[in-house]
């Protein structure tokens, strides 16, 4: 019994310790962000590896998710003779939920894990300590650009995901299933609100980008500098980001759309 309690205490202390270290680390990263104004090239290089390389995945998944939404939505709506509302169903579910959430999960798998592995390996091969020896702050030089690139690319990726998804729904709904094209767009435009839906979606994706980038760089920086440690850190990045994004999504949804 005492053993069990001790283990529980040990692991909860560990969780809080990690949380605390993560927050302190975030403060250090944020303090390093302003210095990037002088060196925007570092961020651009990271935008390439974080954003551009994720784009293919986002485009293909967005198209597929939109097409599936079109197909499934049509099958349900046609029973009520309301298949004209398909555009509304597809656009609202993409813009409000699926765009930010699925893009964030894909982002964690594609870019977050890569960030963690890269930073973790830099640590394992003592490149980070080497930088410190040369009086180069690795947080400023390595971590902050990646963090910023993550935050910046996430809303763009989510927007691309939603836009491509709407097009996918359009192809399936109008092209394959014969929903009227004018009704598809007009129902969508009548019900999707710029501020309530699109802006809130962008805010969501910003929050998710923040969390995903934070977890990715922190896990990399905090990884045990061995081969096994890096592999564990990479797994943790994906798992923790998924938890954090899905949990935060519920809270944000309740705050944004709960009271109407």
């Amino acid at each position: 019994m005492m053993d069990w309690l001790q283990r529980l205490g040990h692991s909860s202390l560990g969780v809080f310790e990690r949380l605390g270290r993560g927050n302190l680390f975030l403060l250090r990263v944020l303090a390093a962000v302003p210095s990037l104004v002088l060196r925007p090239r570092l961020v651009i290089a990271q935008l390439y590896s974080v954003g551009v390389l994720s784009m293919t995945l986002i485009l293909i998944s967005g198209l597929n998710v939109g097409m599936v939404l079109g197909l499934q939505g049509y099958n349900t709506l046609v029973d009520f003779g309301a298949e004209e509302s398909l555009g509304q169903v597809v656009a609202l579910s993409l813009v409000r939920e699926l765009g930010p959430v699925v893009a964030a999960l894909l982002f964690a798998g594609r870019a977050g894990s890569a960030l963690t592995a890269e930073i973790g390996l830099m640590k394992a091969t003592e490149q980070l300590s080497g930088m410190e020896m040369m009086a180069v702050d690795p947080v400023k030089r390595v971590i902050a650009p990646r963090f910023l690139a993550g935050i910046f690319s996430m809303p763009l990726l989510a927007a691309i995901f939603s836009a491509v998804g709407v097009l996918g729904g359009f192809f399936v709904g109008v092209g394959l299933l014969g929903v009227d094209s004018g009704a598809f767009w007009s129902q969508m435009q009548a019900k999707v609100d710029l501020q309530d839906d699109i802006l809130n979606g962008v805010i969501k994706s910003l929050v998710f980008g923040w969390v995903a980038a934070w977890i990715a760089v922190y896990e990399g920086y905090d990884a045990v500098p061995t081969t096994e440690g890096v592999s564990r850190a990479t797994t943790r990045t994906v798992v923790h980001t998924a938890f954090a994004v899905l949990g935060l999504d519920f809270i944000l949804t309740a705050l944004m759309f709960g009271n109407d």
Binding site: A45, V52, A159, V166, W185, Q189, V192, D193, L194
Partner: protein
């Protein structure tokens, strides 16, 4: 050269993201419908607005010419005061126009339908539409129908009993 390629690709990425946002704003949401902001407000008192919501459509002859701007309850007359924002282009609505709250289809959204009258003067900013017809509450209709049906059957029974 390598660096230049990277920068071009980042440019493509950012442009695609912004284009997607613009597409969502213009094509998917109702931004385009909101561009004609200028217009004038008219108010109407309704006994019952049913399920009318803010931003519902205001139509004449089925064509949308404005939106419901606000709905408030007036505690002096115990009526709902609906403020409607009419597009500036539609400035030739007669003063004795009547307003009624209708439902699009059986289960659809409720909207305000304006019926032009014959007055020579036109509605302007702040005017009140005097002739209004409340929303039809389906439950009340069903209740009335059942009641009249029951009353009718009661009479029939009386007639045939002796």
């Amino acid at each position: 050269m390598q660096k230049k390629n990277i920068e071009i690709w980042v440019g493509v990425f950012v442009a695609a993201g912004i284009a997607a946002l613009v597409m969502l704003a213009m094509k998917v949401s109702n931004l385009a419908a909101f561009t004609s902001r200028d217009g004038y407000d008219v108010i109407a008192h309704f006994e019952n607005i049913g399920g009318l919501k803010e931003r519902a459509a205001v139509t004449v002859a089925g064509v949308r010419i404005g939106r419901v701007k606000s709905i408030v309850f007036d505690d002096k007359t115990y009526e709902a005061v609906v403020t409607m924002h009419i597009d500036a282009a539609q400035n030739r609505l007669p003063l004795d126009t009547s307003a009624s709250i209708l439902t699009a289809g059986l289960l659809g959204e409720q909207y305000v339908s304006l019926e032009p009258g014959g007055d020579e003067k036109f509605l302007k900013q702040g005017d009140q539409i005097k002739l209004t017809q409340s929303a039809i509450i389906l439950e009340k209709m069903v209740g009335q129908f059942l009641f009249s049906k029951a009353a009718g059957e009661g009479k029939k029974d009386e007639g045939t009993a002796p």
